[in-house]
Amino acid sequence: MRIPKKEELIKLQAQYKTDRKIGEVLGAPAYLVAYWRRKKKILKYALPKYSFERIKELWEIHGDDLKAGRELSISKAAFYKWRRKYNLLEKPRVLKLAQLELSLPEMSKRFIRDKGMTIAQKGLSLKAGKKEIQVGEIVYVEPDLAMSHDNAGLVIRQFKEIGVSRVWNPDKIVIPLDHRAPAESEKTAEAHKSIRIFVKEQGIKNFYDIKEGICHQVVIEKGHILPGELAVGTDSHTTSYGCLGALSTGIGATEMAAVWATGKIWLRAPESIKLNLFGRLPLGVYAKDVILYIIGKLTVEGANYKSVEFYGDTVENMSVSERFTLANLSMEMGGKFAIIPFDKVTKKYLNNRAKRAYHPIYADQNAIYENEYEFELDKLEPQVACPHNVDNVKSIDEVKGIKIDQVLLGSCTNGRIDDLEIAARILKGKKAHPHTRMLVLPGSKSIYLEALKKGFIKTFLEANCVVLNPGCGPCLGAHQGILAKGEKCLATTNRNFKGRMGSNESEVYLASPATAAASAIKGEISDPREFLKR
């Protein structure tokens, strides 16, 4: 294959616009075209999608991002972004007719309120068989998935209390064992045994014994939840399935018993907040840093009872794995749902996984959000959530140098192949500090296998890490890696509550896999960027 000259590439770009199409002409994959482009310092778009004139014109007509954006079918935030790009910062001086309407907002606003629905509203209204649903309305709905893990033992106990003999639909129940796997005590062994007997009795086929991995990871890997569907799970981090554009949330064991018995649950249509994330993440900064930063700003109850929707080019460029991290941790600001709308990334992920048809849900253009937030992330630094709350977030510079006794890489938050890959890259040829124990906890069997194939596991072992079987154990202080009095742990998990991983006098810091690997090498909280510079 011949590498095209710069002028040639510019010409092709003017004609075909995208890397993919240029690639088709040249017979090269899109990423290769992107590579050439970067080498030759050619921008991603030959011509901006919207010209200065067009943006200026709309800005002068409307003087309002939302209205102007609507003409281009883009969000308020996206229009603002364009406007800023062209330096159109001041309000237009000449008043146009369209702006005058703004001074009569009552009628038109109410009109919009009646029409627009957020993803949460739409999803719940579809499940409830209603045309529309107001925020605050309570509906009875049938979930598409009811997930439980080891606590299915307690669910079974409560289910038997109710006195119904059969579960409502065995095909919608999924039970992976992960929290204390393999059983760490006789009590757990008995619970696991009761679950194995129960799933056989009830014909629950989607039971994954201790071998398979962490429940949330298993659920998305095996295609048990699809875009637009509704899931409930007896685990708070059930919000994770929002990475596929699903509505999913955590409930307690008794409530799950009721779902098993009746197939119904009451849910309140929540308020929604919209997060617009812009900018390309710098080297050494990942989805984990992004969401920790956001939680630091919005606080641990910033999204309590609310549905969180993610938008913006940062999110669009994220893989499903990274989106998973966002949705997973959104629970830590209280989120009921955390949704990244379905797009081509989601579609590609589901290609071989979805075994039934699915119908993605999008928010209406005129959906009403309780709040909208914008985050510019192109200068973000690695973030660390310090003890004992997830919103106690600091920049790496403020905390580096704190001695660490244990590092935990993995969990449902950050135990996927890209997480292991970046850690392995940093650890390759190095060793964990002699005073620091490093544990690696892959998210699932399939991730473990892939890591094995790619040589990451070998890298970890050679770096003196302890590789655990996929599961949750240390993250919640159940077993494997419990902390003693006064010990400090840096973990890629999702909670740093007091006593979470062991002694009440131990401390947990949360950070990205890259920060974890860098900290393991130095034996203290460290900036991963020092290890990533070429």
Binding site: T238, G334, A478, F497
Partner: protein, 164 residues
């Protein structure tokens, strides 16, 4: 009918999380009486011994944040806690408490006006928290929630509705 709850107040802070209320290491326990022995153990090791039947907990904002473990609510209930008042509750804890039949009151004002150790009465009918020298109104719970609470929890509520 759930009318009046009277008890002595334990005042706690903001963000009392599920690990403070019920540590992860106790999760394999299935017997509620046994769970009660660990209620708020993470907050204060001696707490389970200090609680007397009928006591009321007064929490700050985001009470019960964290895990979906309903043992947090169950252990409080079986330890004898009659009611939890807080500035705000975390979503899952709220549902769990109701489903266990543990009465909840959300009141932003109460936290600043009431001290630990006070004896107070929660009246669901009039929607007031009554202390020695003042009455603090609180918003009613949704009907559906009140129905579950009055039946003593979701299991009893379901049994009742399945009988019909």
């Amino acid at each position: 009918m759930l009318k009046e709850i009277k008890g002595r107040v334990w005042k706690l802070g903001d963000n009392i999380d599920t690990d403070l209320i019920y540590p992860g290491k106790c999760l394999p326990i299935l017997d509620p009486q046994e769970m009660a022995k660990h209620a708020l153990e993470g907050y204060d090791k001696d707490f389970p011994n200090k609680i007397q039947k009928g006591d009321i907990i007064l929490g700050g904002s985001n009470f019960g944040c964290g895990s979906s473990r309903e043992q947090a609510a169950t252990s409080l209930k079986f330890a004898g806690i009659s009611c939890v008042i807080a500035k705000s509750f975390s979503r899952i804890f709220f549902r769990n408490a109701i489903n266990q039949g543990l009465a909840l009151v959300q009141s932003r004002e109460a936290y600043d006006l009431i001290e630990g150790g006070e004896i107070l009465t929660v009246n669901y009918v009039s929607g007031e928290i009554i202390t020695e020298n003042r009455k603090i109104p609180f918003p009613p719970l949704p009907e559906i929630v009140m129905g579950i609470l009055e039946d003593g929890g979701l299991i009893e509520h379901l049994k009742k509705s399945l009988k019909k």
